[in-house]
Amino acid sequence: MGKKPELLVPAGSLVELQAYLDCGADAFLIGEDKYGMRLPGNFTPAEIAEAVKIAHARGAKVYACVNNLVSNELLEDLQDYMKQLAAAGVDGVEFGDPAVLQIAKQVAPQLSLHWNAEMTSTNYSTANYWGSKGASRVVLARELNMDEITEMQPHLEIESEVQVHGMTNIYHSKRSLVRNYMAHQGRVIGENESVGKERGLFLIEAERQEEKFPIYEDCNGTHIMSSDDICILEDLHMLLAADVDSMKIETILKPMSYNEIVIRVYRQAIDTYFADPEAYEFDEAWIEAIRQVQDPERELSFGFFYKEQVY
């Protein structure tokens, strides 16, 4: 039996962080859109320091999300930001752009670094390569299947993180796709009109009327999200047996009440497994609790866990 994995949850505010802590989350991913991608809400550096205090007092960890593709312009601010994160005492920093790695080495060498290149973290050798550059964890691509994830665990020289629940990003552009479309239509966009997360915008592809793909804009451009929510709960024991170090529940674009229930359920499943792995059995009531609050228009699916992709 391996060690108990961490249950990681992105939080959008201190209120959410407190609530998710109460539900049994072990670690939090927080930050602000300027530096991190697709966060459920923004934390100022002062709030990050506060979050660290709250979490550490209860034995939980806080990771800062700094996984944007960085522009030249942002490089300078990034130096100060990394110093602030180090001073706040965060337990790690998630990065995708090598610039963050370079800057961390210069100004905050004590920070642990988690490599998250989203769709492109797809094999153990590349993960180990980033390990040799200073990363202590790889966030695996959500497009990997269960076989790929489990077979790479023994080869990994660094920790692994796998998303077990929630939606995923499937397209990211620097362009303002929603605003551009509205401008093309000649639609007048009100001064305070939002095309951000809170607006609830979604796309339907002509031949897939049942699938709704959330879309929103922020300072990093346009993000399109999956039409289904990953839910590996039923087969969680397979990941637990494979020794994955961190399991992430994605909370973005979900009400807090939904996330609380999901976190509690996964907490219970993980604890049940580690109480006695041999006797562990999946409890239908767990997933039923999630179904009760699941948006009926979003399928709970195994994502790519059991898919074979072609190319």
């Binding site: 590349t126 796309l203 592809e205």
Partner: protein
Amino acid sequence: MQTAGKHIRKYTGKRYRLEKPELLAPAGNLEKLKFAVHYGADAVYIGGQKYGLRSGADNFSLEEMREGVEFAKKYGAKVFVATNIYAHNEDLAGIEAYLRDLHSVGIAAIIVADPIIIDTARRVVPELEVHLSTQQSTVNWQAVQFWKEEGLPRVVLGRETSLEEIEEIKQHVDVEIEAFIHGAMCSSYSGRCVLSNHFTDRDSNRGGCCQSCRWKYDLFEDARPAEAWISEEEARDNSVLRQFQLGVNQLPLFNEEDNSFTMGSKDLCMIEHIPDLIDVGVDSFKIEGRMKSIHYVATVVNVYRQAIDAYMADPDNYVLKQEWLEEIQKAANRPVNTGFFYDVPDHEDHIYEPEEKAMPYDFAGLVMEYDQATGIAVIQQRNHFKPGQEIEFFGPKGTFFKQTVGKIWDEQGNELDAARHPLQRIKMKVDHPVSYFDMMRKKK
């Protein structure tokens, strides 16, 4: 040309570099390689049988690569191989042997996205140059510096980089910068799109992209209150909430007559801005399109070759020639723009309207021989043509003339009413001297 309009804004950076940039062209197969090189490419990039991102292209066997390298060498041109997938576990075995093979057939450089392929190449074949692929979406100088320290002499920047940013990068890091200057574009950050995986189970980052970004979508606003997020069972007992299940509060953000939403981008075309690109220090001008035709490759390479040469020969008296714009248009697949070089693309930079038919011209024949005494050329048929049709001949360095097809004969001297058979050798009189590799095109 549509590259103009709002984007016309002279880049004002100072000129500090006068080395001639490389013109880098795509070559989907051996024949395209030969045309690209003959029409003036300094280097071509191709795909091998493995690890490339165009699984739909012909791609080169090692033997074909060897032949391509030999051919290019005669022109002083180089051959690069795109090994730009993001590898999965199962792809790892075999990389070393493949890279050794590439080196052994004389490939000058590989274009790589996945660091494990970079690392393997540096270790196994250190003499093989490694260029960082645009798939890494590198858009800042610090990241460029990182890759330089990893031993890479060249970085292909993310297409989101502006001219000003390129200049900053060049000022901070002594490294070759390659930039796409012409062709189709991902509208996403390259590598950051798995629409294809979600819609069709085809892995975009291993060459399976099915271009879902160019499909048609409808945009809606979800106006259901949060309480509507209840289970179907609950909804059955509650008629008020039931309506939300049926999508009643999901508002279409389009009218019947509106074009659909799309992410599809216009194509990139920088022919009107060659001086700006040279002045900021772009070292390699890359044309997209390993899947494109010979006609496309030859036409586009030909034009950029002339523009680059003209500017480098006399920067102060450089003039953009109208004929270059006309030529480029003949190989255009879509409306064009200037990408991110001057500004972030806006609503005029997508293709919302139904796409018009591609390229107005067909490649009709290839000149094989020319007899100066008689003015008769032997043309290899590449598409149907017949006497009376208006045609154009063009060759490297911008040679160009129009004529009407006169009498045509097969090689035995039998007069033909039309050239119908693919690759048939057809004789015809041409109005001006032509030579091997010159191309004949006709309007569709």
